[in-house]
């Protein structure tokens, strides 16, 4: 035997399925246990596929800095191909995929944020205009509905947004049902969720292509093109000067919606829950909001401003409740080495913000919610949006949405818990961490 270091193995593997049951049950809690048992490197098995969880800022950095031909994002995420379509994201060669992400970032430039801020402000104020002086709401579903409106409006423009009906949300949900731990194992199986997925995808193609064609006609008629993501995708050019095949644009929209929809709506829900749990921090955020609103600024402007207290609050929310926490890469071409450990080709490297954000060396007393925590010095310690070249392209947009929602709400209402504090738990019915349902909160008009 050589004395090469090797990761420890997580306990509780079962014949054939490995740790699949535990992973399915609650991925966040399973991964945290993996770290607690094994430390920096924890090996586990899902139906024979070897996975290694890397839990230290240095290890995360090593993975995030590795190139695509060392660690591949496409290989472990192939189950997304039927969702977005061939020719898009991981259904396209990596050079094409990287350019498609640039198209998104072109559509999210700081200059465009002003327009989006206005759209979001209008939607949020309209949404809460009939809430009255006080009441109770289920905040998870509330923000799902609201963020569906804000994001379709910014992405697809006002015509699409005003035609928005329940069908779009339902189809989207059917796509999401196919993103499950089962899919990670075999996304092409006969399971019903997967045939429903394929039908929903075909119907979405139809709905979104209708908007693409309408926009092309409006542009051809000489109308001033609006500022939205659909227009950015039509204007985008690959480096050889070619435009995107228009048939691929629905897939781009679905992709960016997938990145931004539940992540942002869950973050808004978690933030409100933490506000309700911590009245003293809620007062601080309200004070900051009042300072901005007190100057007579409108919401769109306020949400674009630097609001250090509110932003710190949202960041601490994302630290404890990172919506995405099973980030995967697969070792390709040649073994990947980290601190003398050698990971063979085919090994899945797992990074979990949920675990990294609880490392005591960066976050003392990690379970305590404390919006005044200093940012860790290490660039790869606080990673709710991932890191490196594949860091979330939508993070500024996400902050804009969440800040708009919080600012509008807190300028009118105070939030408090409805149920016993311990009844609000973190659950993972899919690969996204969310508050348990019902997430009921009470809002009361401020005096």
């Amino acid at each position: 035997m050589s004395d090469q270091p090797r990761p420890k193995t997580v306990s509780g593997a079962k014949p054939e399925i490995g740790h699949y049951d535990d992973f399915m049950e609650h991925a966040a809690h399973f991964l945290y246990r993996a770290y607690q048992e094994c430390g920096e490197l924890a090996e586990f098995d899902l139906f024979g596929a070897k996975h290694v969880l890397l839990s230290s800022a240095d290890a995360q950095e090593a993975v995030y800095r590795a190139s695509d031909d060392q660690v591949s994002a496409a290989a472990p995420y192939q189950y997304m191909v039927p969702v977005f379509g061939e020719g898009i994201q991981y259904g396209a060669p990596v050079e094409t995929e990287r350019q498609q992400v640039r198209f998104m970032s072109d559509g999210l430039r700081p200059k465009r944020m002003k327009t989006y801020a206005q759209v979001i402000a209008e939607e949020v104020e309209d949404y809460i205009s009939d809430w009255g002086d006080e009441g109770e709401k289920e905040f998870h579903d509330t923000f799902k509905e609201l963020v569906l409106r804000t994001s379709t409006h910014c992405l697809m423009g006002s015509e699409f947004r005003h035609r928005l009906n329940d069908e779009f949300g339902e189809l989207f949900e059917q796509l999401e049902h196919a993103i499950s731990p089962e899919a990670v194992i075999d996304y092409q199986s006969e399971a019903e969720a997967f045939s429903t997925r394929d039908e929903a995808r075909a119907r979405l193609q139809e709905m979104l292509m209708k908007s693409v064609n309408e926009r092309l006609a409006a542009n051809a008629a000489g109308n001033e093109p609006p500022t939205d993501m659909l227009q950015s995708f039509l204007d985008a050019r690959y480096k050889d000067g070619e435009a995107m095949d228009h048939e691929l644009i629905p897939g781009m929209i679905i992709w960016i919606m997938f990145g931004g929809f539940h992540t942002s709506s869950n973050t808004a829900a978690w933030a409100c829950l933490e506000l309700a749990r911590h009245p003293q921090y809620q007062r601080e955020v309200i004070e900051e909001v009042d300072k901005v609103y007190g100057n007579g600024e409108d919401l769109s402007f306020a949400a674009l401003r630097e609001l250090p207290i509110t932003e710190g609050f949202v960041m601490e929310t994302l630290r404890l409740h990172p919506p995405l926490l099973t980030l995967m890469r697969q070792v390709v071409n040649q073994p990947f080495e980290y601190k003398g450990n050698v990971f063979e080709v085919g090994t899945n490297l797992v990074i979990s913000p949920y675990v990294s954000h609880r490392l005591p060396e960066h976050f003392p007393d990690p379970e305590r919610f404390d919006p005044h925590r200093p940012q860790p010095d290490h660039l790869f310690a606080l990673i709710p949006f991932g890191g490196g070249r594949r860091k979330c392209v939508g993070n500024a947009f996400a902050f804009l949405q969440v800040k708009s929602i919080l600012t509008a709400l807190l300028s009118r209402y105070e939030l408090s818990l409805v149920d016993a504090p311990e009844s609000y738990r973190e659950v993972m019915p899919s690969l996204i961490l969310r508050p348990s349902s019902p997430c009921n909160l009470r809002y009361t008009r401020r005096k």
């Binding site: 800095r65 050079e95 700081p110 890191g387 490196g388 993070n395």
Partner: protein, 67 residues
């Protein structure tokens, strides 16, 4: 003052160029992925230091460093 950029972290959003255009320029990358920052003035004189400090502070990806 000497400025360095960590290109693994830069995603070309251009906040730095907006803040200190004398020092930073955002250029298209060769592979067609994200644009990238280019430092056009590595050792700017003291008149620019304040602007450069803000650019470094406001880079959303913490890709810029002063050495």
């Amino acid at each position: 003052m000497k400025i360095v950029a960590d290109l693994d972290l830069c995603q070309g959003h251009g906040m730095c160029e907006d803040t200190a255009p004398e020092v930073f320029r955002v250029v298209e990358s060769e592979d067609g992925s994200y644009d990238q920052v280019e430092i056009i003035l590595h050792e700017p004189d003291s008149g620019l230091h304040e602007k450069v400090d803000s650019a470094v502070r406001y880079c959303p990806n913490r890709a810029l460093k002063i050495q």
